[in-house]
């Protein structure tokens, strides 16, 4: 069983690359230590929300303002546009709305307007740009979601047009559950007809011109409860992202993995890619540690989407040495010398903030003299150097754009034919 491409990592970047490659006929294997950040992030695609301290209205127009060496530097705007359209088409069940031309402004669980290029239809109705009247609904017992906080913070937020926001706290039907996580609540919407309860609880308490924001727990398997709610209430209803686990993120993971499975992509979790067999500047096989030892998977190409520091794609040891953990690739964005001194405040300028692998335009990691380290190795997602996604609000956008572009980087020179997969 030989694979054309092995993708290391199952976050949004890895899943995107794998899906693009498989739909172009490649036989793809994903190996991952575990599930990526899709389960944690709100499932919006944030291309670019801030340039410095300035909020971005149009990501497409603002991308040229990014510094040299930013991952988007290797993804032309038209390719980014194609990648986003492709993403929407492959997640049709979630009905993504938006595009690179303008950002939606969606409320977070803290009541902060957050710019996103794409949002699933169940969230897109929360767009604050047009102003209007909002009611935010909380469920008693559901942790870390406080409608009063959301409404109060939004009232102070800088928005293009003024909004009116109020809060409503509802008591859901009793349950034996002591701890109501997002997943548990979403499961109740799937299985216990909580939609009926919510319709009855809201129908006489919401004005005809109010939009209704509820925690993003309207169905785990699909957004059917959201659709039903909007239809029966005859109002715009939208989900507001919660603290992890992210139910819309779980739906996104499910949608992508279903597409991957039907494309014949094999996903193996709980294993660690530990190295490669190299021959003449190419990776011949990826070595993967499983239950008993190391298995070498022969490959034509490799996508490294193992994530940054948080996911273990990059590692900083107690001696101040930073390394890329799978292939020991050269890194860019490291501080001079070995001593890493962190600034006192979390959101200060920090050393290592932009550390990662630098690449060429085919997303191939390069060495200090800008030459590809391995001819057939491409990188995508949070492992790339040059971005500060938590400030720029660009993490998911970079994952989709570079996941897609890395796949294209493999496919384009595919005058090198896709090997006849043994299936």
């Amino acid at each position: 069983m030989s694979y054309d491409t092995v993708v290391v990592g199952a976050g949004l970047a890895g899943l995107t690359a794998a899906l693009r490659l498989s739909e172009r006929g490649q036989h793809v294997l994903i190996v991952a230590r575990g599930v990526g950040a899709t389960h944690l992030a709100p499932a919006t695609v944030d291309v670019l929300g801030y340039l410095g301290d300035t909020q971005v209205a149009s990501p497409a127009a603002s991308l040229p303002g990014l510094s040299n060496g930013h991952p988007y530097g290797h993804v032309p705007v038209d390719q980014l546009t194609t990648a986003l359209a492709w993403f929407c088409a492959h997640t049709a069940a979630l009905g993504y709305a938006g595009g690179p031309g303008e950002n939606l402004l969606l409320p977070t669980a803290l009541g902060v307007p957050k710019p996103s290029a794409l949002a699933p239809r169940s969230m897109a109705g929360g767009d604050l740009r047009a102003g209007g009247r909002f009611v935010f609904v909380g469920f008693k017992g559901f942790k870390d979601f406080h409608p009063t906080l959301i409404a109060a913070n939004l009232a102070r937020a800088r928005l293009p047009l003024s909004i009116e926001a109020r809060a409503l706290e509802l008591e859901p039907p009793p349950t034996r559950r002591g701890d109501l996580s997002g997943r548990v609540m979403a499961g109740r919407f799937d299985n216990e007809q909580l939609t009926d309860w919510l319709v009855h609880a809201l129908e006489h308490r919401v004005e005809p011109d109010e939009r209704i924001g509820v925690p993003a727990v309207l169905g785990l398997r699909s957004d059917a409860p959201w659709q039903e709610l909007e239809k029966r209430l005859q109002r715009k209803v939208f989900e507001v992202a919660t603290l992890p686990p992210s139910v819309p993120g779980i739906r996104l993971f499910q949608a992508l993995s279903a597409a991957l499975r039907s494309g014949g992509v094999r996903m193996v979790f709980g294993v660690t890619a530990v190295g490669a067999r190299i021959n003449a500047g190419r990776i011949e096989a990826v070595e993967v540690a499983n239950a008993t030892g190391t298995h070498a998977y022969p490959v034509t190409s490799v996508v490294l989407a193992s994530g940054g520091f948080a996911s273990g794609g990059l590692e900083l040891d107690s001696f101040g040495t930073t390394r890329e953990t799978v292939f020991d690739l050269p890194l860019s964005g490291l501080p001079e010398g070995h001593r890493v001194r962190f600034a006192p405040r979390y959101f200060d300028e920090q050393p290592l903030a932009t550390a990662g692998v630098a690449t060429d335009d085919l997303l191939r990691p390069v060495d200090g003299s800008s030459r590809p380290v391995y001819e057939n190795l491409h990188a995508a997602g949070a492992i790339l150097a040059g971005a500060t996604p938590w400030k720029e609000k660009s993490g998911t956008g970079i994952s989709v754009a570079t996941g897609y572009a890395a796949a294209e980087g493999i496919l384009v020179p595919a005058a090198a034919p896709v090997s006849e997969a043994v299936r």
Partner: protein
């Protein structure tokens, strides 16, 4: 003990990915979830057992460990916490009994017809439920009567050819000796000489029921039987994914056994489909398969996923002309070895399995494929659909004897050929 397991909890960033995947906490509030019962509660356990018994509701499926992005050994932490709990309280008689398949096998085999009548008699099962606590509806296999060990003694395979050692496990020995015979036939068809050493339980059921000392005794005894072959450089294959995983990893990681015999046996262990696919990768697998015009859903059991080898059964079956396998996407069937047999856990196990049962039913197939024996019994119990080991499909595709257990017209024939 292996401290790497407990120390791994410091890697937990409380991201809740494990909570999102846990099939048990999804259906019952009695298990608070892998993060709560595992890395979080473990910090408070210190040397003593859990203050509450909720960790006993963990089924041990291991999905949490597989999906954890930070390599926290969640299932392993919970497995040990469960053992500490039962060490303090004393493992109940019921759990001692169902955790000893060889004892049950030796008792039931000589009186197989009577034992099978009793296992499937409503009145007897009702009494067993109230006296011992095994749920009256829980799936029970039938004793075969003549064990695989006995059958293999009268089997005369080839005397030459490369040798492979077969660890068949208790399920094959007492309940499904035909699966063992088919596995041997498939290996012999590929030119192997199959050695079947005398063998006993691997101790996994005792481990998952919290009796670590007895589990260690069993696994050491088994390793003693297998180690000389491993030292001779022979591969060992298994068709039981959970027992194979016990030898590959769990005896070391969970029971904390550190010895050279176990280490070499672990390195020599292969799931049978993994082994056959390895042959294929080297161009050594015979591919003289006949057409099998069937559409069959395949469930990779949770313990199979713990091997970290992908889904070799699907890769192999893709070589069979006209056979269309449907890859199911459900993590667990609910039975988790002996978990679903227990009176207080049966309903949970059926609720966990419901998605799998529904998905299998939706395919309209009369046959399902799955690598693990207890999962197959659960699937049949939950769906009424016959359930076979992938080796049985290979056996049929090779045309190795007439086998009636897969109905010829099962499923919807398809025109798709994956050659």
């Amino acid at each position: 003990m292996n401290d790497a397991i407990r120390d791994s909890l410091d890697h937990c960033v409380k991201c809740t990915v494990c909570e999102s995947f846990c099939p048990v906490s999804q259906v019952t509030p009695l298990f608070p979830g892998p993060k709560y019962a595992g890395p979080q509660a473990e910090r408070y356990r210190g040397a003593g057992p859990s203050a509450d018994s909720s960790v006993d509701y963990c089924s041990g499926c291991g999905i949490c460990t597989q999906v954890c992005p930070q390599d926290v050994k969640i299932a392993e932490i919970n497995s040990r916490a469960r053992a500490a709990l039962w060490e303090k309280r004393g493992v109940p008689l019921r759990n001692q009994l169902i955790a000893r398949p060889t004892v049950i096998g030796r008792l039931g085999t000589p009186v197989a017809p009577l034992a099978n009548w009793a296992l499937h008699n409503r009145t007897v099962r009702g009494v067993v439920q109230s006296v011992i606590g095994i749920h009256r509806d829980a799936p029970m296999p039938s004793f075969a009567g003549r064990t695989f060990q006995r059958r293999s003694r009268s089997h005369h395979g080839p005397s030459a050819g490369p040798a492979v050692v077969y660890f068949h496990g208790c399920g094959t020995n007492y309940y499904e000796p035909r699966v063992g015979e088919m596995l041997v036939a498939v290996l012999e068809h590929n030119g192997f000489r199959v050695i079947v050493p005398p063998q006993d339980c691997c101790g996994l059921p005792l481990q998952s029921n919290g009796n670590f000392p007895a589990a260690r005794t069993y696994v050491r005894r088994l390793v003693d039987r297998l180690a000389p072959h491993a030292r001779a450089g022979l591969p060992i294959v298994s068709n039981s994914t959970s027992c194979g995983l016990m030898l590959k990893r769990e005896a070391h990681e969970i029971l904390g056994i550190e010895d050279d015999d176990l280490a070499i046996v672990s390195k020599s262990m292969y799931d049978v489909c993994e082994f056959l696919l390895g042959l294929h990768e080297r161009g050594e697998l015979r591919t003289d398969f006949n057409s099998l015009p069937l559409t069959i859903p395949y469930h990779a059991p949770c313990q199979q996923r713990g091997h970290g080898i992908g889904k070799p059964a699907l890769d192999l079956l893709a070589l069979v002309p006209d056979l269309n396998m449907i890859e199911l996407d459900v993590d667990c069937c609910g039975i988790a070895g002996t978990y679903g047999l227990k009176k207080e856990k049966y309903d949970i196990s059926m609720a966990v399995g419901k998605r799998l049962f529904d998905d299998i039913a939706a395919t309209g197939s009369r046959v399902a494929a799955c690598d693990s024996e207890t999962c197959r019994w659960q699937i049949t119990h939950g769906t009424g659909v016959k359930s076979v080991h992938p080796i049985e499909l290979l056996y049929r595709a090779y045309g190795l004897g007439r086998n009636r257990s897969v109905p010829v017209k099962a499923g919807r024939p398809t025109a798709q050929v994956n050659a």
